[in-house]
């Protein structure tokens, strides 16, 4: 019996240690790593390669020698590419007609794995191991799609399956922390949506401190791009995020 107790203590101890590691790792104390962009980014860095998302293509540069990027290839994607989001060995590309998933297992040569076509719209993407979240915004400049958070099951990466459409007006950029999606909604504020059940997202609440365009969840901090500049939130308690900073230029 005492041995089981010891094992339990050891497990908890190791969990604590590993949590500590994750935190330190993502704090980027090590300056050789790359930083984190928002969901609206067209540039991203993964595995010593720089990816530039153009209107139709993704251009790939090897940046092993940081000062001297070497062009590797350009991959044709589709129509109206707008955003690129890296996750592990994959790139999620948001375009006006769909979400495209590329493998960068070979970073110099992205290969298309799967896609989910949708009605024309503006659509940034974020994802984790099993689910991809896309906000679609209809309207004159974007297309006729219904505004909302579109959730895709990507367990079978070659065949994303839409699990739900959560209607939410004027969505722009988005961010993911644990099972909460932050959705920027322009002058309508910033909405937090619980996505624990990808088939039934639930609106938690909306904060309206500004005209929100995009966010970067970063440990317990949320960096928000608003029409006037930057807002910073403490998101350690997702049930009650708190504005802690604001950049006055």
């Amino acid at each position: 019996m005492p041995s089981i107790k010891n094992i339990r203590i050891a497990v908890v101890f190791f969990m604590l240690i590993s949590m500590g590691c994750t935190k330190d790792g993502s704090n980027l104390a090590d300056s050789s790593g790359s930083g984190t962009g928002g969901s609206l980014a067209r540039f991203t860095i993964a595995a010593n390669h720089l990816y530039l998302a153009d209107h139709y293509e993704v251009h790939v540069y090897d940046i092993a020698n940081a000062a001297d990027p070497i062009k590797k290839t350009s991959v044709n994607v589709g129509f109206g590419v707008e955003t690129i989001y890296p996750y592990k060995d994959k790139l999620f590309i948001g375009s006006r007609d769909g979400m495209y998933i590329f493998s960068i297992a070979n970073p110099s040569n992205p290969v298309k794995l799967g896609e989910a076509r949708h009605v024309r719209s503006c659509d940034p993407v974020v994802a984790n191991d099993t689910v991809a979240y896309v906000t679609l915004q209809g309207g004159s400049a974007c297309g006729p799609a219904q505004d909302g958070l579109y959730v895709y099951d990507i367990k079978d990466i070659v065949k994303p399956v839409q699990t739900s459409l959560f209607p939410i007006s004027t969505p722009f950029g988005l961010g993911l922390k644990d099972s909460v999606v932050f959705i920027c909604r322009g002058s309508s504020g910033l909405s937090l949506v619980n996505v624990k059940d990808p088939y039934a997202p639930e609106l938690m609440y909306t904060v309206s401190d500004g005209n929100f365009k995009d966010v970067i969840p970063y440990d317990d901090i949320l960096i928000c791009y608003v029409s006037t500049g930057l807002l910073i939130y403490d998101i350690s308690n997702l049930n009650q995020v708190k504005k802690v900073g604001e950049v006055i230029y």
Binding site: G35, F43, L52, A66, Y218, V247
Partner: protein, 205 residues
């Protein structure tokens, strides 16, 4: 035999009855006015709008660090360690010290004409200057150094023909006509000046 025939016709009739109401529903989508003569096209009118300002002086493209600047057209964000970088559409990148979030402060600016995108690895910044990819050493971000410029690496909307030039140097207001600068970037776009333009020009929604 007779029975089978009857059965067949009944089935067809049923099908027709099913389809008929839908045909009527769809008829509202048909444009019966197609053949009517369209109203005469009005000649273009002069309206207040914007004309592009160009320069041939390429020294304006030089990437330098400056004192903190006021925000004009806040753009995309990027986080690296305790620093937050925020693009200012068309002019460069604000550097924000976020080591104490409650006292986040704008501490400097990296001037990059035609900038909209940011990515950083180690102490190297990858950004765009119009359609060029620029590589900048930001080890000392108060004294940044341009390491490389790769021409036309990032074309954005240019290939599509409808070149959204306001992606690079935004117009001072929305909902205005502007003189389309074309896709020739041999001259460097630096800004916009209010002037009278024809309303058949480009439009910034």
């Amino acid at each position: 035999m007779q029975r089978t025939e009857n059965y067949c016709c009944l089935k067809t009739m049923r099908l027709l009855l099913l389809i008929l109401p839908f045909t009527f529903l769809l008829s509202s989508c048909w444009d019966f006015t197609y053949n009517r003569s369209s109203p005469p096209i009005e000649p273009p009118k002069k309206v207040w709008g914007y004309k592009p300002v160009f320069t041939v002086d390429s020294s304006i493209l030089k990437i330098v660090a400056t004192s903190p600047q006021t925000v004009k057209n806040p753009g995309k964000i990027y986080v690296k360690g305790n620093l937050v970088f925020q693009n200012d559409l068309g002019s460069g990148i604000h550097v924000i010290d976020n080591s104490i979030p409650s006292a986040a402060a704008n501490i400097g600016f990296i001037k990059i004409l035609g900038n909209s995108e940011i990515s950083i690895k180690g102490n190297t910044l990858y950004a765009n200057s119009f359609t060029d990819l620029v590589v900048v050493d930001i080890t000392d971000w108060q004294n940044v150094k341009e390491l490389k410029r790769i021409k036309s690496a990032f074309i954005q909307g240019a290939q599509a023909g409808g070149y959204p030039v306001y992606n690079y140097i935004p117009l001072p207001e929305r909902g205005v006509y502007y003189e389309c600068p074309g896709s020739d970037l041999s001259h460097i776009l630096t800004g916009w000046v209010k002037d009278s333009v024809f309303n058949n020009n480009c439009f910034y929604p």
